[in-house]
Structures are given as structure tokens and as C-alpha cells.
Amino acid sequence: MWVYIFRRLLYAVPILLGVSLLVFALIHLAPGDVVDMLVPPEVPREVADLLRRRFALDQPLHIQYLAWLGRLLVGDLGISFFTNRPVADELFSALQNTLMLALPAALLGFALGVTLGALAAFNRGTWLDKLFAATAITGVSLPHYWVGIVLVSVFAVIFNALPAQGMGPPGFPASWEQIKPLILPVVTLSLIPMGVISRLVRANVLEMLSHEFVGALHAKGLLSRRVLYHVMKNAAPSALAVMGLQFGYLLAGSILVETVFNWPGSGGLMNLAIFRRDIPVLSATILVLATIFVVINILVDVLQALIDPRMRR
């Protein structure tokens, strides 16, 4: 097992190197010179050159890349062009805010998805199955940013019951004042995982039910509840893999929903960095989000291998 984990971690190194190279290349492919974009055109050349030297933009590309990589390895994500604060600080608090949405949304979506999917599979062909299938396909087809807008118009504009945007008082959400602004974005974000997971669980459970071991378990006189346990355990690994992916999407892909609700998360930070051309913030955010996604994938693989020893190849 440890060998497997170690190998899996080792395999992530070249991928992360590739990711960093891609981000670096993208930024240097971008049209226009960063400094020219930052300073007003009437600024004298000397000042612009000074800035270039200050951010080491006058060095050859490979030197710039290696220097950037070296700083990343010691946890230095750079200084924001715009606020002049360390990127790591801003990114860390933004990630916390994103996690505040992603975690409950994932739990809600996964719980609903597994329940709907399993119920649909065990009641195959009934109206319940059809209803849940319709719910699931709606969940994966809805543009979630639009759902956010619709929810805001219903619950904020028409009923005036929940806030339309923004975050409550800072800190761990314990009071109603802090939970209130979470409800709409969390519901919005949970729709896609709900749809994806319930479709997958339904298909997996149906496949498991078609196996002979289910009939054998029944024939042995096992209680239906115990049979259900065996079926779900066998259906779990691939569902887990997809859950990991979905959680990664929630963390790294919530930029659209965060924009709708004006949520100060990592997506909001990225959006701001794009429009300010704040390259250090932008590249660090992309890189950190991708790294988190890779780490989540490793965790899922390890978890899968724990449940199903056949996966430890």
C-alpha cells in the first residue's frame, strides 16, 4: 500500500512540472507586454524598464521560469502587481471562502445523488425511476450560473427572504446571519454533482444487481439490507473517483457561481486578476487550483485502492 502511495505521489511530480510550464507559457504567449499594460503610456521608458527589472521581466525566459519555479518550491507565490501584497495571503483567504461553499455543496450534492441514484436503480422502470432520471439529467444540463440568477430572482427579488449576494460576517458559519448568504450559492453548486453522481450510481448499482453474486446472496437467505450493503460497496470505487473529480470542479470551477453571488472566493480572485491583468495573482491562482485538483485525484486513487485492493497495480 505504501509503495502504491509513494508511486502515485512520484507520478504527480512530472505532471505538476508540466502544469507549471503550461501556465508560464500561457502567460508569455499573452499578447502585449505586461509592464506596458500596467503603466500609463506617458510614463517614461526608464520607469518602465525599472519596473521590468524589479519584476525580473528583462531576463531570458528560461531563467525567469526557473526562478519562478524556485520561488514556488519554497512557498513564495509572488507579490500582487495591484495590491502589492503577497499573493499567498490573498489566495489563502479566498480559498477558505471557496471551501466554505464547495464543502457543503459537495456533501449536499453527493448525498442527494447517491440517494436518488440508488433509489432509482432499486425501483427500476417505475415512475420513481423516471422522475429521478429526469431530475438527474436536468441537474447536468442546467447552466449553474443561470440557476444562481433564477434563485436570486425568486428568493431575493420576489420573496426577499435571502440575500442576493455577498458574504455574511466572517468566521466559521455558525449563526443564521452567517448561514443565510451560503444557502443560495451552495444549492446552486450542488446541482451538477447531484446530477452526475445520481446518474453514475444508478448505472453502477444496476450493473451490480445484474451480477450473479446478488442472486447468490439472496439465495443464501441474506437480508435485503445486507445485500444492499454488498451492492453499494462494489459500486463505491468508481463513484468515489467521480466524486473526487466533482469536488475538484467545485473548488476550481466555482468562478461562475462566485461571480453571480459576488462571493470573495478563489474564482472571484481569479476574475479580478484577469481584468486587472494582475499576472502574479492570476498565475498563482491557476497553479494552486490545478495542484489542488491533482492532489484530490491522488487522494481519490489512494482511497479507491483502500476499498478495492485490485486497484493497487
Binding site: G18, V19, P31, V140, W146, V157, Y249, F275, I286, A290
Partner: protein, 302 residues
Amino acid sequence: MVEVPAVPVSPLDAAEAVGRAQQSKGYWQRVRTRLRQDKVTLAMAAVLALLLVMVIFAPYFTLHDPYDGSVLRRLKPVGTPGYWLGTDEVGRDLWSRMLYGGRLSLLAGVVPVASALLIGGFLGTLAGYSGGLVNSAVMRLADVLYAFPSVLLAIAITGILGSGLRNTIIALTAAFVPPIIRISESVTTQARHLDFVEAARASGAGVLMIIRYHILNNVLGPILVYATSLISISIILSAGLSFLGLGVTPPHPEWGLMLNSLRQALWVDPVICAMPGVMIFITSMCFNLLSDGLRQAMDVRL
């Protein structure tokens, strides 16, 4: 080597066998029969066809110019005479903009999938067929792209390269290439070791010939089914990029962009504001159901 027992074949039996062979339907024929019985999938295909016709021939289905605004008729509600779906925040006919907007939205939804299909399909088939070093190179490249959730990759590319239709298409293509590489690689690798491919190679068929007749015929089904479901994601994402201000630039009508600019009128008329999203939803739903139907008819497992 197992000897095949020689069975005496009477002329009558042979004639019957030929007849039965002609009666038994081929794979594609079975797919067609199954599709014809699938009411939902047919209905979805019809809705999409209708939408396509209305979007392409938008001038014949609308009364007003989609760019023609007027301060006097800003945000008219649904059901206003002459403007049955109302008007947007600068007084342009919403129905016209919805139809004309479909042009860019559908284009930005379909083109990335098509180009990803070409690029990813080529790379995946190449990797799967040649194996070895080429395989490793292509698949590690795909792994790097896979390290990004598709939304993040698309936003990173448009955010850095700048907004516009062209960059949206480039970004979404890059986001869809890795999964297509993976699928076509695994299907090709499986097909490569099938007996009939070995047989074709043994009888002197060239690489191109084998790929064209034996591999592609096996790879195309799963990839097409997958691509249909990707179109749904692509439409949602491309509209999402425009919604963020990273896609199509104003004043062009595009569903995501319309959703973005109408958002400021949310407190005035929430119904009008939600309208462009309905189009995105219907289109992506149709493609999803179509993909499900095709998957069932073609008996594809992904």
C-alpha cells in the same frame, strides 16, 4: 490448433444460410431501428433541428433588428404588442436577440467539440495504434491538460489570451482534447489486439488501411456518443465565458453575454433577465438526451 469439424453442406442448407445472413441486420441497421423506436431521442433531435433552422433563418422568424435599441422601450415586459418576449435593458427586441444569439452560442458550442474531436481523435488513435514512446508522449501531454478542471483551463486560456470568439473556441478545444485523447486511445488499444486486425495485418493491409477500416469503425461510435454529450457542456461553458466577459464581446447577441448584461435589470424584471438562460438550458438538455439515446441505440459503454 483446433480442427474445425468438417460438416457436409447440402446445397439446400447453403441457400438457407445465405438467406438468413441477408435477413439478419447489420449493426448500423439495428442502431437505426432502435433509434426509430426511441420517441424521446427523436423528439430531441426534432427540437434541435427546429432550433437550428430558426437560428440560421432568424430574419424570417423575427420582426425587429437585434441591434436596434431605444431608450423609450427599455425592459418592456413579456407580452408587449410587437415585442412578445419583451425588450432588453437597452430596448432591443428580446426574441430577435434570442434567435440571433443562438448563432454565436451554437457556433461556440459545436466548433470546439468538433475540433477537439479531430485533434484528440487523431492523437488518441495515433497513441493507441503505435504504442511505445509515441503513446507515452501523447498520454503524458494529456495528463498535464487533465490536471486542470475544464472550466479552469478554459478560463485560464481566455483570461490570459484575451476575450473574443476565437479565443473561446481555442480555450474550449484545449479543455476537451484530453478526455477525447483518453477515450480514443483506450478504444484503439483494445481494437488493435483484436483478431481481425491481426488477420488484416497478416494479410498485408497497410497501416492506413487498417486504421481506416478496422480501427476507426470501432472507435467512432463511442467517441461520437461522448462528443454529443460534450456539446452540452461546451454550450454551457462558452455561454459561461461570455457571461464572465471573457467570450463574445458586446453588442453581439449571445446567450451568455445577454444573461450578463441583463443581470443589472434583475431587480426591475426578473423574468426577462432569466430568459436567455432558458435557451442555454433547453439546448444543453436536448444534446444530453440525444447523447443518452445514441448511447443506448449504439450500445456504447464509456
